[in-house]
């Protein structure tokens, strides 16, 4: 195919500008094709006289272009095969993703179950420890009931069953009861009253009081006076204080609770 061109310079420059733009796009896709296209157009657009000496023959270029076209078609077939393979890959990926989601779900459930079980086991172990402790230190139920009675005897734990609003009884010593007690009556005692021998716990006379009994109610013997005062009002006030108490009083040594009030000890001796 021979091409005779006698175009003007402006035409050539216009065509070559367009060719350059076109070729820059082509180079991104079909590098080898571009070269053949470009050379073909250059040969077509350039007059024979201006052609480079090493420019290829137009026939060769056309053959090259047709060969490239065939290559493109073959490559398209390969691309179609690869597209089919890609479909398989995508399906496999979807299945793998499903399995991943199931595994994560199962893992989450297992973790929850582990947490719940570990909590339950921990609590069960604690209870077993408590059971063993209780079995090692056995207490008879009668003793427990006895202690319960003592604790609740003063009605400090719960009100008496017959208590109603307006009842003057209280779980603590009231003003009236305190005045009726020994301490309330101490102020009424005249100064010349002989100091009686006081009783310690269990009713035995205290050795310290034998010395103080010789003195007469001096302010310096305050400790002795405290003991004597205790002995005085013990029997008087206790009957009032005990008016509201329920249940029998038993020996305090079994209970082991501290009682600074010797009135209770004298109570036990009275009982």
């Amino acid at each position: 195919m021979t091409i005779q061109i006698s175009s003007q310079n402006e035409f050539n420059s216009y065509v070559s500008t367009h060719l350059f733009f076109l070729f820059s796009n082509l180079t991104e896709i079909f590098p080898s094709n571009v070269i053949s296209f470009r050379e073909l157009f250059e040969v077509a657009a350039t007059p024979k006289s201006q052609q480079k000496p090493d420019a290829m023959d137009s026939i060769t270029l056309v053959e090259l272009v047709t060969m490239k076209d065939k290559e493109i078609k073959e490559t398209l077939k390969l691309a179609a095969e690869q597209a089919e393979i890609q479909k398989t890959i995508d399906e496999l990926r979807t299945e793998v993703d499903k399995r991943d989601a199931e595994i994560k779900h199962l893992q989450k459930n297992l973790k929850e179950a582990e947490t719940i079980l570990s909590t339950a086991i921990y609590q069960a172990k604690q209870k077993l420890t408590a059971i063993n402790q209780a079995n090692n230190r056995k207490i008879s139920s009668e003793e427990l009931i006895k202690f319960a009675h003592r604790i609740s005897a003063s009605n400090a734990v719960a009100s008496p069953p017959t208590w109603m609003p307006g009842d003057p009884r209280r779980p603590y010593p009231t003003d009236f009861e305190m005045r009726l007690g020994f301490l309330g009556k101490v102020g009424d005692l005249p100064l010349n009253t002989p100091v009686l021998q006081s009783q310690g716990s269990y009713g035995e006379p205290m050795s310290s009081n034998r010395n103080t009994a010789q003195t007469e109610g001096t302010p310096t013997s305050s400790s002795a006076g405290w003991h004597s005062e205790l002995g005085l009002g013990a029997s008087g006030g206790n009957s009032q204080i005990l008016a509201d108490f329920k249940g029998p009083k038993t020996e305090s040594e079994d209970v082991g609770f501290m009682s600074s009030d010797s009135s209770s000890s004298s109570l036990s001796s009275d009982e």
Partner: protein, 91 residues
């Protein structure tokens, strides 16, 4: 898809038109070149959209093997844990 590809990626007719217009020195050269340019752009877009051409066929087949192995392994793992009813209570 092969037909669509052939249509999108065949430039011979366009090139022939351009050469003819250059030969005839017709004012359609510009128009023909523009048409060729548009066809090339469409061809580029078509190629970009084509699935599976990012890697070679060999790599694709390797990928398939890997995915099949993963699928088998994970399916077995799931079956194992769903059917398993023994737990180590010593821990």
């Amino acid at each position: 898809m092969a037909d669509a590809g052939e249509n999108e990626l065949s430039f011979l007719s366009q090139i022939t038109d351009v050469l003819k217009s250059i030969d005839k020195e017709s004012p359609d050269v510009n128009q023909k070149m523009k048409e060729l340019k548009i066809k090339l752009e469409k061809a580029r877009e078509f190629v970009d959209k084509m699935p599976g051409i990012q890697c070679s066929k060999t790599e694709q087949l390797k990928q398939i093997d890997i995915l099949r192995n993963q699928l088998t392994y994970k399916t077995e793992l799931l079956e194992k844990y769903k059917k398993s009813d023994q737990f180590d209570l010593n821990h």
